[in-house]
């Protein structure tokens, strides 16, 4: 698998500088440095397409544009460094047990792409399909989970409602007694769900896109989008103007601000979501545990730390600072589920920005401005959708119209009232 980039250098994923057991041994013995996984290129005055946002969505779109559609004269711009936004701030949970048929189909395609991503990118993304449990603490949750199970099964996605006994078998540390404030009545069990190393996904896509000739420009902030007679003609950046007929807004936390530059209004409100990680302990939790009622999700990393995430903060904000309320709240909720963790210490907390849409589904596809496309409104569920979004947006950019798998997620649905209501499965369900 080799290609020639715009500078005439031979690049390749498979032979020229592929990662393998042999290359690991060779570098280990010779103690030589590994070559850079991707390069800093000269900014060209024009590109066939410019992707704003160097996260998993933007980089995956660039990769699939090159791989599936032969478009390699493409730039990915990021105001900071790649993977520094939502792609590096999520809790890296993957699942596809959504509520609407459109949502289940879409996220299931993403899980399928993740299953083969390490081989496809020649980069170990450490996808661990350890199973995903969404706990139910009341009758309404049990009903929603029965509903989700049936929708999932019809779409061929493995899901089942299980009782407290089976929950206890899967996660012995959970307090499944009836005496708690929110007793566990059952759970939605989703065996294909799991966790992945989110930085590796970003780096893997960046390296593979770079090898196909895509330019990745970090520390390049977009300051304006040129629109003439309803068509995109270029973008203004802190490093100069780039002429291009196609611009994709693949940002999170900046989706309103970037779309405003093209004069496109967004049905989005930005909220921070906080997460935290504990000191590492021995492995004891080999599934992902989520409680919508308690606004918490917990998983254990390969290093042994527990990763906690919550729901979005209670008011709109662009601030990525942590708050004491969050720390107190999440600790209380985790201890409600697993009292045995009382002596564990939090190591750090952080926040990421979530662009919430009215129906908890994303906004993907063309806009009223010709050549300006969006892949935004990713709320709290963007990371898990990275591969399928990249694949679908690449098709959309190359062909000028959205493929069937994202046809329900267009910007026009908000004014026509065809919402794709995912709140029951997306809000705090990671």
């Amino acid at each position: 698998m080799t290609s020639t980039n715009g500078n005439g250098h031979r690049n390749g994923i498979g032979r020229v500088r592929g990662y393998s057991a042999w290359s690991l041994l060779r570098h280990g013995l010779s103690r030589s440095d590994w070559p850079r996984a991707w390069h800093d290129r000269e900014l060209r005055p024009s590109y066939d397409a410019v992707i704003i946002g160097g996260g998993v969505h933007g980089l995956a779109t660039a990769y699939y544009l090159a791989k599936n559609h032969g478009m390699t004269n493409v730039a990915v711009l990021d105001r900071s460094y790649i993977g520094g936004g939502g792609s590096g701030r999520n809790t890296s949970i993957l699942r596809s047990n959504y509520l609407t048929p459109e949502g289940v189909r879409f996220y299931d395609r993403s899980v399928k792409l993740y299953e083969h991503l390490a081989a496809d990118l020649n980069f170990n993304v450490m996808f661990s399909q350890r199973g995903h449990l969404t706990l139910a603490h009341n009758d309404a949750s049990m009903r929603t989970m029965a509903w989700r199970t049936e929708v999932n099964k019809l779409q061929g996605v493995e899901s089942a409602v299980i009782g407290p006994g089976e929950v206890k078998e899967l996660v012995p540390y959970l307090d499944t007694s009836a005496e708690t404030r929110y007793p566990i009545l059952g759970a939605l069990y989703h065996p294909p769900g799991g966790v992945v190393r989110h930085d590796a996904v970003v780096w893997g896509y960046a390296r593979a896109a770079d090898a196909h000739g895509v330019h990745i420009h970090q520390k390049t902030e977009v300051t304006g989008i040129d629109v003439e007679r309803g068509r995109v003609t270029g973008v203004q950046t802190t490093r100069g103007r780039i002429a291009t007929p196609v611009v994709l807004n693949a940002t999170a936390g900046w989706s309103s601000l970037i779309s405003d530059m093209a004069g496109v209004a967004m049905p989005v409100q930005t909220f921070p979501l906080q997460a935290a990680v504990t000191e590492p302990v021995r492995p004891f939790l080999d599934t992902v545990v989520v409680s919508g009622t308690l606004h918490v999700y917990v998983s254990q990393t390969d290093r042994g730390e527990l990763v906690f995430g919550a729901s979005v903060d209670p008011f709109a904000s662009y601030s990525m600072r942590g708050s004491l309320e969050f720390t107190e709240g999440i600790a209380g909720h985790v201890l409600e589920l697993m009292p045995a963790l009382a002596k564990m210490r939090l190591l750090r907390q952080w926040a990421g920005l979530c662009d919430m849409t009215p129906d908890y589904s994303p906004i993907m596809g063309p806009t009223p401005v010709e050549g300006f496309y969006v892949d935004v409104g990713w709320g709290t569920y963007g990371f898990k959708a990275g591969p399928v979004s990249g694949e679908a947006m690449a098709a959309c950019l190359a062909e000028g119209k959205p493929p069937e798998i994202i046809s329900a997620f267009g910007l026009d649905r908000f004014l026509s009232g065809r919402l794709v209501g995912e709140k029951g499965a997306a809000a705090v369900g990671h």
Partner: protein, 91 residues
Amino acid sequence: MMLLPCPWCGPRNAGEFKYAGEGGARPDPATTTPEEWRRYLYFHANTRGWVTESWYHGAGCRRWLVVERHTLTHEVREVRDAVQVAREGAR
């Protein structure tokens, strides 16, 4: 933590308040089109900077308030009682 200086209760933790977000002129439901109504419901300025928004002091004076807040720094410039703001506007 963010403190909101309630005009009736003094500076209080934001957790005591219910956030209601950006205000906007509501179209007349009797005459507006479905598209205009949905635009009013779903689309937001989502400003990064100073905004004027509605908060409800549910755990305090139970009054609706008009808050001027910076969405990046959480600095609060002014908090006024919504009824007083409405009366001033009607004058």
